[in-house]
C-alpha cells in the first residue's frame, strides 16, 4: 500500500493542493495528516474542510499545537503565531472547530504510530530535533515506525536492537529502506511552511510492501500563498518566509 503523509499544512492551500495532486499521481491509497492544519496561512477553513473530507474517506489525522490553540488559549506560542491563531479563530466555522477539537494526540495504524511531536508526552509539543528526543519518543510506543512533524525540517532517526541511535537527513526523491531489524522515527518536512531553506512544499510517501520511505518536494505557487497572507493583514514575516523556506 502507498501511504501519503503530510505534516504542518498551516492553512497554505496552494502548497497542500500541489502536494495532494502529486500524492494522487504517485498512487496514494491512504492519507495521513500529522497535525497543524491551521496557523500562519491564509486558508485555514479550506484546509480543515479538506482534511475533514479526507478523514471521511478513511484518512488518519492527529492534533497539532496550532489546532489545539484554536479552542485552548493557554497554548504557548510566539507572537506571530498568536496573531495568526487569533485571526484563524474568526475564520473557522463550528464544524471545523469541532473537527479540530476531537482530534486524537496519537493514532496507531498496524505497526505505525502517527503523532504531531514527541510521542512520549504529546501534549507538551516537544520538538524531535536530535537522537535524544527521538530515542525518548521511540521508547514510549512499541510501533516499528513513528511518523511526526512539528519541526518543519525532514529527518530520519533509527534505533538498533541495542538501543543505539542514528540520525540522517533524507535526500529528496531517494527511497530509504526502513529495515525490519530496527525501529524508525521519521520527522516530516512541512507542507505549508518549510524551514530547511527549500521553499518547495514537503511531504512523504511510504510504500508498505517494500518498506521504503521517500521524501518528496513539490514546487507550488508561492506568490499566490504570499499574496493571500498579505491581503489578510497577517504579520509580514509569515508571508516573506515562504519565499525563503525558513
Amino acid at each position: 500500500m502507498q501511504i501519503a503523509l503530510f505534516a504542518d499544512i498551516h492553512g497554505n492551500r496552494q502548497a497542500f493542493e500541489a502536494c495532494l495532486k502529486q500524492a494522487r499521481d504517485f498512487g496514494a491509497e491512504r492519507y495521513v495528516l500529522l497535525g497543524d492544519f491551521v496557523g500562519y496561512g491564509a486558508d485555514p477553513d479550506w484546509t480543515v474542510t479538506t482534511a475533514m473530507e479526507l478523514v471521511d474517506q478513511g484518512a488518519f489525522a492527529v492534533l497539532g499545537n496550532h489546532d489545539s490553540a484554536i479552542a485552548n488559549s493557554r497554548e504557548q506560542m510566539n507572537l506571530e503565531a498568536k496573531v495568526a491563531i487569533e485571526w484563524t479563530r474568526g475564520e473557522l466555522g463550528t464544524q471545523q472547530r469541532r473537527f479540530l477539537a476531537q482530534l486524537p494526540l496519537r493514532q496507531n495504524d498496524e505497526d505505525r504510530l502517527y503523532v504531531h511531536a514527541d510521542a512520549s508526552n504529546p501534549a507538551s509539543w516537544i520538538y524531535v530535533i536530535s537522537t535524544v528526543e527521538a530515542s525518548r519518543s521511540l521508547a514510549f510506543d512499541p510501533a516499528q515506525i513513528t511518523f511526526c512533524g512539528h519541526v518543519h525540517r525532514p529527518a530520519i532517526y533509527s534505533m538498533s536492537p541495542t538501543a543505539k541511535m542514528t540520525a540522517f537527513t533524507p535526500t529528496t526523491g531517494a527511497a530509504v529502506p526502513l529495515l525490519q531489524g530496527r525501529r524508525w522515527l521519521a520527522v516530516l518536512g512541512s507542507v505549508g511552511q518549510p524551514r530547511d531553506g527549500n521553499p518547495a512544499a514537503s511531504f512523504a510517501m511510504l510504500d508498505t510492501k517494500k518498506r521504503e520511505l521517500t521524501y518528496c518536494r513539490v514546487p507550488y505557487d508561492v506568490e499566490q500563498a504570499v499574496a493571500a497572507i498579505r491581503k489578510k493583514g497577517l504579520p509580514r514575516w509569515l508571508a516573506d518566509r515562504l519565499f525563503l523556506g525558513q
Binding site: I156, P161, M165, F168, A174, V176, L179
Partner: protein, 482 residues
C-alpha cells in the same frame, strides 16, 4: 560455539542451501539454487545471536540497503533481499572465478599488468561512485573479474551511501576497514569521501607492483595512525626499474591530503590508460621519503590543512573529463576557434576538470595508409603537435590536458568508442558546415550526438556575412536537406 542456523538441504524462502561457500567473521555465505533459475547464486546470512559483534549486524544492514540500489557490471547483481527481523539474508549473483587475493603469491606483477588491473578497478570505482556509494574496503579479496574483463567489487558491508542513513558511522564512531588499505581520513572518522577508495587502490597498486605493502600490515590504531603524517617509501627505491609514470600515479593516489589525489576514479583510470601523457612531477623522481621537518609539521600541525568535504555528487560533477573533437584539415579554423570558445566556457567553472583533445584521421577502407607523408613527416606527431597548439590558449595545467590522434574508418564510431572507454562526461564537437562534404560523408556530429551516452555539445562557427545571405547549412538539424 553457537549452533549452526542452517544446514545443507534446508530451503529458505524458496532457495535451497547447497553448500557453504565461505564462512566469514560477520556472515556465512551459501551456494543456493532455486528451481527454474539457472544462474549460480550466493546467499549471505549474517551471524545473529548471543555474543554476535553488533558491527556484524549493522554492516549486514548496510548491505541490505545498498545492494538492491546498485546496478551494472561492476557489482554482483542483487537477486533478492530477505528483510526479516529474525532471519535476514541477501541473495546475490555468484561471480565465477577467484578474487585478486589469490594472486598474492605472484607479486610483484609486471608494471603493465598492474596498470591494466588498476584501470579496471578504477572504472569499477567510478561506476559505484556515480551511484552514490563509497566502498571503503577496497582490497584484493574484495575484487573479482568477469569473464568479459570488468572488475567486480564485493562486500559493501562497510560502504557509505550518500542518500541512505550511515548506520556504521552513527553507531560506532570508530574507523572500520582493512588496516593496510585504510585511508588517513577514514582513520579520522570521515566516511563520505570517494577519494578514500582511490587511496586504497593506490595501496593495492603499490603492493602489486613492488610486493611490499606501503604502510605495513599492523592493525593497531597507533600503527595505522602513522600514515596521517608518514608517507611511504617511494617504489623506485624498492625497484630501481620502476617506471616514473607509475610512481607518479601511485604516490598521487597515496597522498595524505585527499585534495591532492586524483579528483575522481575516472581521471585515475584515464592516466593509467594513457601513461605516456602523465605529467611527471617531483613525485615521479622521489627516491626517499619526505624529510623529517615535513613529517613533524604534519604530525603536530594537523589543522593547517582543513579537510574540505563536498557532497559526493557535487564533487563528481565538478571533476568531469571533457573530450573535444578537433578537425585539423584545411579551412577548419573558424570552427576550431568556436570550439575553443565553447570549451573555455565549459571549463570556466570546473577547476578539477580535464580535457582530452581528440583528432580522428579517417582511413580508407581499402587503401594502405602510411605513417609518413610524401615529405617524410610523421603525420601522427604532427597531429599531436597541432592539437597541443589548438589547446595552448586555454592555458590548462599539463595535468589537465591530453592529446589523442586516432585513425579510424568511421570517425563517429571512433569518438564514441573513445568516450566510452575513458568515461568521458561531455563531448564537444563541431558541426561540419560544408554541405557537399556532409552529403558525401554523412554527419559525424549528428551520429555522436544521437548515440553518445554522455552530454554532447555541437558547436557551430559564428555566421559570416556570406552565410546570412544563403540559408544555413546545418550539420545536425533534422531538416530534409540534412
Amino acid at each position: 560455539m553457537a549452533k549452526p542456523l542452517h544446514e545443507p538441504g534446508v530451503v529458505l524462502d524458496g532457495f535451497r542451501l547447497d553448500e557453504i561457500a565461505h564462512q566469514g567473521g560477520f556472515s556465512a555465505v551459501w551456494r543456493v539454487s532455486r528451481p527454474g533459475v539457472s544462474t549460480p547464486m550466493l546467499m549471505k546470512v549474517p551471524r545473529i545471536g548471543e555474543g554476535t559483534d553488533p558491527a556484524a549486524i549493522v554492516s549486514f544492514e548496510m548491505e541490505q540497503m545498498i545492494m538492491p540500489r546498485l546496478t551494472g557490471q561492476h557489482v554482483a547483481k542483487c537477486i533478492v533481499v530477505g528483510d526479516f527481523a529474525v532471519q535476514p539474508y541477501i541473495v546475490l549473483e555468484c561471480i565465477p572465478g577467484k578474487t585478486l587475493y589469490e594472486r598474492l603469491p605472484e607479486l610483484p606483477l609486471p608494471y603493465a599488468e598492474v596498470a591494466a588491473i588498476g584501470v579496471k578497478i578504477a572504472q569499477a570505482l567510478d561506476d559505484i561512485h556515480r551511484q552514490h556509494v563509497v566502498h571503503l574496503d577496497i582490497k584484493p579479496s574484495n575484487i573479482m573479474f568477469r569473464p568479459s574483463g570488468e572488475a567486480v567489487l564485493l562486500d559493501f558491508g562497510l560502504s557509505h551511501h550518500d542518500q541512505l542513513p550511515d548506520l556504521m558511522q552513527e553507531e560506532f564512531r570508530v574507523p572500520f576497514g582493512t588496516a593496510p588499505y585504510m585511508s588517513p581520513e577514514q582513520l579520522r572518522g570521515i566516511r563520505s569521501d570517494p577519494r578514500s577508495d582511490l587511496f586504497a587502490l593506490g595501496v593495492l597498486l603499490y603492493f602489486f607492483s613492488t610486493g611490499v605493502r606501503p604502510f605495513g600490515e599492523r592493525e593497531t590504531i597507533r600503527a595505522m595512525r602513522k600514515r596521517l603524517w608518514r608517507d611511504p617509501v617511494p617504489p623506485r627505491r624498492l625497484r630501481p626499474d620502476y617506471p616514473p609514470w607509475l610512481q607518479e600515479i601511485v604516490l598521487r593516489c597515496l597522498d595524505i591530503e585527499p585534495g591532492w589525489r586524483y579528483p575522481t576514479a575516472a581521471q585515475l583510470a584515464f592516466d593509467l590508460s594513457h601513461h605516456d601523457q602523465v605529467k611527471l612531477t617531483t613525485r615521479s623522481e622521489r627516491m626517499r621519503r619526505d624529510p623529517i621537518t615535513t613529517v613533524l609539521r604534519r604530525r603536530f600541525n594537523k589543522d593547517l590543512m582543513r579537510p574540505h568535504q563536498p557532497a559526493l555528487a557535487a564533487h563528481l560533477s565538478s571533476s568531469p573529463i571533457i573530450a573535444v573533437a578537433i578537425d585539423l584539415t584545411e579551412g577548419s579554423r573558424a570552427i576550431n576557434d568556436a570550439l575553443r570558445v565553447t570549451t573555455e566556457r565549459i571549463l570556466a567553472t570546473l577547476p578539477s576538470a580535464r580535457l582530452a583533445c581528440v583528432n580522428v584521421l579517417k582511413q580508407g577502407r581499402i587503401t594502405i595508409d602510411f605513417t609518413l607523408d610524401e615529405f617524410g613527416h610523421n603525420k601522427q606527431i604532427e597531429r599531436l603537435v597541432a592539437l597541443k597548439h589548438w589547446a595552448a590558449p586555454i592555458e590548462l595545467d599539463e595535468r589537465q590536458l591530453t592529446v589523442h590522434a586516432i585513425e579510424a574508418i568511421d570517425p563517429a564510431t571512433a569518438i564514441l568508442d573513445f568516450a566510452r572507454a575513458n568515461s568521458i562526461d561531455h563531448i564537444v564537437i563541431g558541426a561540419r558546415q560544408n554541405s557537399l562534404l556532409r552529403k558525401l560523408l554523412g554527419s559525424v556530429s549528428a551520429k555522436v550526438a544521437a548515440e553518445a551516452q554522455c552530454t554532447v555539445t555541437v558547436v557551430r562557427p559564428p555566421p559570416t556575412s556570406q552565410d546570412e545571405a544563403a540559408p544555413a547549412t546545418d550539420d545536425v538539424s533534422l531538416s530534409s536537406a540534412g
